[in-house]
Chain length 316, copies 2
């Protein structure tokens, strides 16, 4: 069903205000932006577990964190189960006048889509590389054992390049969608419970998702998971909890490298040249965004909207 | 044919000494290490174009470079066609006591395999991320137009994790090998001149190599190429020259991020846990290395050995 953006914003505002959420306008902006840019997997459906976590107390409404280590160009934070989106938004709002920074956060809850942060930095003329771990989603190739996260990664290069993707070859959401529609899933994106490639969505749900690019893609995902855990002190692999199932407090991590290009070459020609060869990632989403903003409506699943309305007051 | 390691070292020493190459023992070590670890694509066969470039004057034997910009934790260098291997080896020999550094180099010649540098830093307890661009090798999916490099990337995490791979799903060397042996190439690694996937190595040579992971892998390769060019000021895409064909001076770039983990969490447990689940990348190569070192011999293609001997004095 089509719902007025203002109406959605109103609902979210009520829900977050009631729970004493700090910087709640950022949360509203984040979830609406996800829907507008076509990342509905990071949109309104993620509001439910967030509200649930807030109601259960596994997620903290205020941006409270402990600085573990800090220097002029490094920061290691324990987010103490604050909301990842508002915390990270505040972290990237700082000034970045040094050549390069590393921000490492552990134990933040839902951070949403990484392109939200990298695109804001890109607009400010800064290069950024962001990745993080999460609950396991990708199997070790040849097995049905889920051992690494879907390994999200985002890279922003000014003035207009924003990569925002995961290293998974499909999402659980797409497999569920195929099941509902009675369709097959593409060959090579998931395995059954024996670790053998399957096109049957029901079997895939008992198995697991494959990384992009076979073993090389698996190693890339493993590398990002390890880098995150090593630098942030987060949990790793099957020990990560609290991301999708907010009955437990979150114990994952995120890393962001921010580069001030004024200390480097700023070769804008390279971007201009490549833009002539290929459409940049995210461009399609931004076009969708313009269209939807103009119309003033967002398409929301009926059941989800019902649940959101029910959850507005209490979500446990 | 099997050749004594000392004999190979002797030949290389002669060749580099004659050409007045600075720090030539590093070059010898690099090429021998590549062979020992099983990366023969970065081994002795790459000595020929290097010697050719030195004889033609497109590559400079001494480590001469211009510092374009420099700060306590950033460095932008124009390598002025110095040898990439000796230059980068010298750069990473510095002390890294700040939390994070970015080293950006353009116009260096052959740098070999990136794991050489990241593994050295890993042994010193430092995290490193290295990538660079090169002559185009990967096609835009759906076409036969080569637009991005094979996008090498290496990541080192202490004490023992070293990823060293490219985002190409195969190498030109492997396609040539299949052609020689009259074998097919795997489906999905290369396209013919119309941009259609082919298993025929002869057709693949007229087309191009596919990235790992389809369009996502292509975007990752594009991102690394863009990051490199943007930060270093190197050339990009089909404008990169001098890497394989050293008739032209090199104009590519490399980026290295070095992280001192003492400013962060140093979660070694994460590595120990994952090591129990999966063998780390590079481990197999290191086992091969031990075995070959013990034997004291390296397997060298007969024609290559002949060419090396011929090139020792003059290679044009």
């Amino acid at each position: 069903m089509r719902i007025k953006i203002e109406e959605i914003e109103g609902l979210l505002r009520q829900a977050f205000k009631k729970r004493g959420v700090e910087d709640y306008e950022v949360l509203i902006d984040h979830f609406i932006e996800a829907e507008l840019r076509g990342h509905s997997s990071h949109g309104l459906q993620r509001v439910i577990p967030l509200l649930k976590g807030l109601d259960l107390g596994t997620i903290k409404p205020r941006i409270g964190f402990e600085v573990i280590k800090e220097s002029k160009n490094s920061l290691l934070i324990d987010a103490k189960h604050s909301i990842g989106i508002t915390l990270w938004n505040r972290l990237i709002s700082r000034e970045f006048n040094e050549p390069i920074y590393l921000l490492a956060v552990r134990n933040a809850s839902h951070i949403g889509f990484l392109g939200y942060y990298t695109s804001k930095l890109t607009e400010r003329g800064l290069v950024s590389i962001m990745f993080g771990n999460a609950e396991v989603g990708i199997v070790k190739p040849g097995t049905a054992k889920q051992v690494v996260s879907t390994a999200p990664i985002s890279v922003g290069i000014p003035p207009n390049y924003v990569l925002d993707m995961s290293l998974a070859s499909t999402s659980r959401g797409k497999i569920l969608q195929a099941l509902r529609k009675g369709e097959k899933i593409p060959k090579g994106v998931a395995v059954n419970e024996k670790g053998i490639i399957t096109e049957d969505p029901a079997e895939a749900l008992k198995g697991g998702i494959l990384p992009i690019g076979g073993f090389k893609g698996f190693l890339l995902a493993l590398t990002l998971d390890l880098l995150t855990a090593y630098l942030t002190g987060s949990a790793i692999s099957d020990e990560v909890t609290g991301v999708l199932h907010t009955e437990n407090p979150p114990n994952k991590g995120e890393v962001m490298i921010i580069i001030n290009p004024s200390f480097f070459a700023i070769n804008s020609y390279a971007l201009e040249k490549m833009r002539k060869i290929i459409e940049f990632p995210g461009e399609h989403g931004m076009k969708l965004r313009e269209k939807k903003l103009e119309e003033g409506y967002i398409e929301v699943d009926e059941k989800l909207w019902e649940e959101l309305n029910k959850c507005e007051k209490l979500c446990v």
